[in-house]
Symmetry: C2
Amino acid sequence: MKNFFEIVSMSPLFCGIDADNIKKMLSCFETRIVRYNKNQPVFLQGDPARFIGIVVSGKVRIVKEDYNGTRNILAEAGPGEVFAEVFACARLNSLPVSVFASENSEIMLADCSRMISQCSRCCSFHSLFISNLLQTVARKTLILNRKAELLSKRTTREKVLTYLSSQVELSGSREFNIPFDRQELADFLSVDRSALSSELSRMRKEGLIDFHKNHFVLLK
Amino acid sequence: MKNFFEIVSMSPLFCGIDADNIKKMLSCFETRIVRYNKNQPVFLQGDPARFIGIVVSGKVRIVKEDYNGTRNILAEAGPGEVFAEVFACARLNSLPVSVFASENSEIMLADCSRMISQCSRCCSFHSLFISNLLQTVARKTLILNRKAELLSKRTTREKVLTYLSSQVELSGSREFNIPFDRQELADFLSVDRSALSSELSRMRKEGLIDFHKNHFVLLK
DNA sequence: TCATTTTTGTTGTAAAAACAACGGAACTTA
DNA sequence: TAAGTTCCGTTGTTTTTACAACAAAAATGA
């Protein structure tokens, strides 16, 4: 069992910074660890955008509900990953999304006001940190870019294939598990669940894919 | 007629930095101004991600074509706006998108290698600059977030209404011009052009909207 | 000005998706 | 183990979209 410091210091935010200085920065950012049970909210839409989170253990989901209550999974974050930093960096006052723990989780929360602007007193590595933060945010933009690409596909089949292809790339294998059940995958692809189910069956019948539960194989 | 320096120095990238230091930074970044005619490419997909652009005059479009040639307008940038910085900040080697001048344009190109990492020699304001850059990239992420939200709508009507509502917010009026012709709007919303046209007509018939060419009124 | 090109709206048809409803499998938990 | 719950696939119906083809209007340009 790794302790929180091992996890957190592996985060790309602290890339190139040694343990001692990371510790100093953590205290400068007034970090604290909070436990959340499965399905508990970490942040709710409208909350002030004052904190960023780093997942120590467990997993969180960034979720947006629109006016008619349709749930929309925007992203996920697992151990070592950072979330909600974009809103802080954009200097928003309140969060346009909610974050839920999708498993029992430990989250490190950090005050972002210290993080974003230069703080003279504490950290010689502050500018490297911001540089790392910049890279992190930019990478997130790219992921969103890809999501927008996926959503711009017209048919359910194209969306499924685009998604599964990206999972192949990610896992480095044509066989992999996806982190969603059917309803969640449907939400992620922004299609109807039953339509997704039947499309998946059709694709299996045609020999394009195979799957059992959340285990998938992209055949062709 | 404003000169390029006036435009560029108004960019949020240089917020809080005085003219003299901006000049120093511009030379440190090895900037140059390049003219492009309408529809000429500024960058092509696959080009090295070494430069960022600032629009001095005119307008550019960030475009992605997928494997079957469907054009996808990801974003636009007008005078004073920055583009392609996300790919540089994410330290990508090559661009996943193309950029075209949608009008005759003057673009300032800047070498990003100097920009991202601390350069000791030139600029006392470098860390403020990176901080500004961070904010810019984060804002862009938010815009993409909204685009993903729009694309996740199931029907053409919902997409149109979401888009028009955002334009109302942006312009501060229920009556406004959109920067697209029909085909471009269809591409942006990721729907079929003719389906878009007929949906627009239907919505007009129902008294929801009114429009003439690219001038729209959101009535209800 | 006239011809050409581009843009937009319309319509009919085929394809696809949403929706609703149901049944069975798998998993929980009392 | 039995009852209840959640998850998944299936099917039929309705709604919506894509696609193709065409005509009118507007813009372009020679």
